[in-house]
Subunit: 376 residues, 2 copies
Amino acid sequence: MKLDYQLKKVEKNTKARLGEFQYLGKTYETPMFMPVGTQATVKTLSPEEIKEMHAGIILANTYHLWLRPGMDLVEKAGGLHKFMNYDGPILTDSGGYQVFSLAKNKKKDITEEGVHFKSHIDGQNLFLTPELSIQIQNKLDSDIAMSFDECPPARADYEYLKASVERTIRWAKRGKEVHKNPNQMLFGIVQGGAHKDLREYSAKETVKLDFDGYSVGGVANDHESKEDMYKAIDYSIPYLPENKLRYLMGIGEPIDILEGVIRGIDIFDCVSPTRLARHGHALTKYGKINLKNAKYKEEFTPICDHCDCYACQNYTKAYVRHLITANETFGARLLSIHNIRFLIRMTEQIREAIKNNTILEYKEEFIKNYYGDKNE
Amino acid sequence: MKLDYQLKKVEKNTKARLGEFQYLGKTYETPMFMPVGTQATVKTLSPEEIKEMHAGIILANTYHLWLRPGMDLVEKAGGLHKFMNYDGPILTDSGGYQVFSLAKNKKKDITEEGVHFKSHIDGQNLFLTPELSIQIQNKLDSDIAMSFDECPPARADYEYLKASVERTIRWAKRGKEVHKNPNQMLFGIVQGGAHKDLREYSAKETVKLDFDGYSVGGVANDHESKEDMYKAIDYSIPYLPENKLRYLMGIGEPIDILEGVIRGIDIFDCVSPTRLARHGHALTKYGKINLKNAKYKEEFTPICDHCDCYACQNYTKAYVRHLITANETFGARLLSIHNIRFLIRMTEQIREAIKNNTILEYKEEFIKNYYGDKNE
């Protein structure tokens, strides 16, 4: 059964939305942060740990799973849920972003038919098309599949972006035509950089194709400014239907989650909590801290006060710092648990604020603490 | 409170012993396999996972913890149990083995006073003495501390070994004199290579010092033959008191655990289950298998039939193989759980066989399966 999104409320002073969907008898609320399990595993963590932090949807990566272990193997295993032993909802991206960012030497040849590129693992020639991306996702049997889109460079010129948006719409249509998995939602992706007219065009044409949900794409590029990201959302949202999920791809910086929510986004994903963890960084109320810093050597207090996560309930900064310094993966595991839970707890607070029509106050308070002067 | 060992039974046909001790209200049985948590963490695992596999004592490493994070820091944290959040019994080794095997360039200068060597982390000059080893272990506040011994090369000549044994006895005496932790057992270590007279001398002199338990040392050296290891045990055991724990240091190969048990050893430790896990190897009833092998690519069955571990209950060989191939640490974590549980389950079966006076039959059956012709 496809998961069915219901919009419950729009906050009084902003476009922030409270929504929910049911999945295998359980209700999940949005706004939601989705942990990323690129290779059918959220790095260092077990499915039980992911559920203990009240995660909802998790992400898996079509490009990576296509290369390794392969779509047919996952299909034989009974699909991604069974393969990785996760019974919560799973979203797969289309592979487009990885093709454009990971392909060996970043050399690729974009044709109307699809994208030729070389594997980042062994350099073999690969060809990914909109149809193949959907076929892979059908076999992976995720709950939400994404259309295959082109992710053009952030600062590509207007003419290029226009042609790219048009191609992405044609690709979305082709993908939808071959989509066969009745239990899987298929999302369309709005592109168009920070151009008002391109975003409007892309949104309207994509919505015409009638997808189960929509993503605002092309915003997770490092070279793009935050202003451009917020513009991309503002220019896309007005044309998206109220009763469908809206997904801001690849975004997990707290300020951006807040800005996204306020602009009408429902779901977010980002590798940052686990990546930061592997580098010894922790998210706290008072900003990001680097546990490798010598000042935490003898701090026998939790990573973050009042945090309810397993790491904060059982370990000290001094211990986690020791693990990170000694290259022990249990350190990355504890920080992954903490960082993901931090973002999930933030979305829980965001939902509460939407219920109370206080999202702007929540945002101000959060930002004051998190990005304040005292922070590292 | 010191843990108190009670010998419950000696098997009818061998010297295999069934014993037990109490710790914080819980009864632990021997023979026992002790997982190794070198740097105050059993690599990749949480304390809860270690307890779920019915582990008893775990090991931590004095040399490593002395260097990082330092004995004073662990003391300030409230001792090792609190620092690493493990409320089961902990044994610390003396650091001797690491000084002799890990010291930078393996260059060291052994004097009567102690050993000068360079840190394997940053090359700084260090000096470890029998007294300092005990003082570190006192501060770590483990439940069992080990005397600081010299670990001479396996094939050192008789005269060298004799002098070394004598020095190790003097070191044991010096360590015992400074041992101050009333809740901590202190074990002596019997050395002497594969020489009957040296083992007898070492055992008798060490027992005269009246330790809380005894270890048969100098057997975990790769260059030593199995025959020499078994001789070392056979030549040491007759002189050790019945009512004290006997520990075979650094041994975890199944055949050696069996041979040790039959010769009267109670406790064993080895890094092999977690090290093998990181290299993609799993221990099974039918021997060690390498999950990187292509033949497991589509094996949608547990690592090991009838295994009750978390990994075998929830995942397939195909998934674990995927994780290992994709360098995902959750793979090493699942295999660590499985491999440690495999050895712990083996000791559970060994205890059952001792109760039934069938240890020789158990050994024969185990070896036929584990080391049989069909195996990889």
